[in-house]
Amino acid sequence: MNTLLLVEDNEMNRDMLSRRLRRKGFQVEIAVDGQEGLDMTRSLLPDLVLLDMSLPVMDGWSVARELRREEQTASIPVIALTAHAMQGDREKALEAGCDDYDIKPVDFKRLLGKIQALLDGTKEG
């Protein structure tokens, strides 16, 4: 069973997404701010991180950069989630080291596809 870490500060989004992902058979861990997300990634070493960009304490871009910097977390795939859908957010997220990105509200099927692709990729790699 794959472990996903969901870093999301909005309670509703967190609840919804985690329930749906669990129903799809993932083990989902929750972090509510950037710092917690970073710490949990370091300790749990999940198979994939779903990372909101606008987070309290430490923003998603900084978390992604930190993760990329550290050897043990550098290879963990990260999908950025952003509510802004602003031009350049995707580039900024990718620049910060995220592997993919999706816009909120999430298209769940599309997100599942992206998660699956990244998990398959790491397995192959």
Binding site: N10, M12, N13, M16, L17, R19, R20, R23, W61, R65, A83, H84, A85, Q87, G88, E91, K92, E95, A96, K104, P105, V106, F108
Partner: protein, 784 residues
Amino acid sequence: MGGQLKSLINRIGLVSAVVLGLFLTSILVVLYTGSVNKETIKSLQQVSSAQADNVELRQGIASFHRQLLAREALAGSGEVIELSDDERKDLAEEVQGFRDKAGRVRETLDRGPDGSLDMGPVDQLLAGWHSILGVARADGIHDAHPAETSQPPMILVTPGSAQALQPLVDQSFSVIDRQSFRLQRASVALNEDINQTVSRTSRGIQVIFVLSLIIVLAAGVPLVRHIRRSLTQLTGGTRQWRDGDLAYRIPELGGDELGLLAREFNGMAGKLEKMLEEVRAASRRADEANQAKSSFLANMSHELRTPLNAIIGYSEMYLEEIEDDPEAAGGEFKDDIRKVHSAGQHLLSLINDVLDISKVEAGKMTLFIEPVNILDLIGETVDTIRPMLEEKSNTLKINHQLESPEIEADVTKVRQVLLNLLSNACKFTENGEITVEGRQYHSRGRTIQSIAVIDTGIGMTEEQQARIFQAFTQADSSTTRSYGGTGLGLTICKGFSELMGGDLTVESSPGSGSRFTFYFPLVSGSGEQILQLGSEGVTEESEGEGIRVLIIDDDPTALDLTRRVLVRQGFRVITAQSGRQGLETARKELPDVIILDVLMPGMDGWQVMAELGSDERTQHIPVVMQSMLHERELGIKRGAADYLTKPVAKERLTGAVRALLPEKPAGNLLLVDEREESLETAESVLGDRQAEIIRTDDLDHARQLVKAGKVGLIVIGQHSQSEEIADFMEEMQCSAESGRVTILLLNLSDAGDEEFAARINSYLRRQSARRSSKAANGVTPKSD
């Protein structure tokens, strides 16, 4: 009002009238002189002929007397001389001739100034001769023609009668001689008259000429000068206005027509200025309002998304649960929940569209150009739309004529346009055919990519076609009810295609389907072409010779923010919206400082940095990098003069830029002096202060240095071209007034080293005082 003489036309008219009057006077004078001279010449002719008569009279009398004496002498010798009738007649006629001549001479003399003489002796002589010839007529005026009387042949019986007339002959001669003298005098007098008249005339004409000349010069020259000056002022004024300085006013030109024109022009400029100001204010207000609207919409839609997220997510989740387990609780609400879900989806698409349109309208939308295979993109989009296609039993065909499917474009926007056109086609076509046509063609040196979506659906009337690109409009407002949609799709598509430098067109007729053609030029180069709706890529503002800062940033908002901060600080700002453009601008403009964003599509900040460093022209220009990323060490290592993390505080930004500027005050000293020894003096005075001394006697070079901001202090010493120096100083005075340079004028040979030193030292003290007060106000000076 200025009175009659103030009018230009009146003045010109008056001068012309006076000159014309003088001209007419001179003509009259000439005519008068001509007529006077004609009279005099006639008199002169008469006098001349009288002179001739007088001479003939004298000669005639002498010869006639001699003839008579000769005849008498013959008679004295006893010979009888008989005169034939003919001879007598001839002689009598001769005497008559004398009488006529004498008469004419007398007449002429009567008219002359002296009057005639008493001709008594001549008359008596002629009467005597008549009596000798037997024509005794004492008065001697009328000669009875001898031929008419039939007198016997005459014999001169009394010898000595001719001799007796000798005293009369002598008296006659004396009279005649005096007459001759008088005639001579009359002739001389007449000649003098003519000369006098001629000289008077020419003098008169000369006077008139000189008078005209004086009038023309006195009135005309100031007039011409005034007109020329006025016209120069007028053209100067209009030129100022043309160049945009509507605050300029033509100076007062006087009360004439040109002055009036200048006043009217000034009035017009004032009106224009006021109107322009109003227009600017209105446009500013409109911009602000539009800006407010856009940011409101953007914020609004963001705020709306968050709760929507929950609505869509939870309903979707619930539906999934019901599908997985049809027996789950609340399964009977499945259809209701589906409705909630689809309403949420619709609301989301509306919000997305509103966000897009507000960005397009605010000019905030930027392009992100990347390589893409257009056929793959079309295929992908068609796959997305396939369920809709099948729902209405439509078939789809793809035609393409492409030189190369590998193009560069803003993939997201092309996909969005295509998706919109295809879903529209599906919406309005049933049991029909939809065709996607991809083409590439060349026009005006550019390659154009066109994608047409053709359907066989319900089509549109011309009236409907005219409205479909307007926001919140569908071909028919009832369409929304039966076909759904936000009515914003085509507006957004049109906006996107225009943003890409292309267009979106429609051809349609009711009942026979529609053809939407979306085309855009293909960008050559490697993806750094960033366009922004409604503004040009490179802009420059705040004219003048300030410190020039080039800002390179792809994000227009960030760019504008940085620009505003620096412009307010008095910097001259140039902006570029992509790495490639920034590099070109840097090479062309050679700014004093470059502010470089790191994260840019295409050529990023690191690449720009490397390119700047490898170019001789640009490698000395300090670069301040700014980025969201904390990579200060890396930035400094790669050659950045400073590295700022976004968002950058205003003070931090201006401080960083100022810190990089050449240390002007104590900095470079420009010595404009021809003598070698001045340099030594200057060097010894400055000692080991960190100042570079540039000595030049080439004033153009000096100007360049000052313009480039490389000089803080100009010392002008001995220089042979004093006039050029004066011009130079006048020019530099402007720079000095704006505080950029200080000018010290001193004649080193007179002043000597001590005064030179004293004056430079006092200048340096003032500068350092000013700098420390600046530092206290929070502006960081360079810390060496």
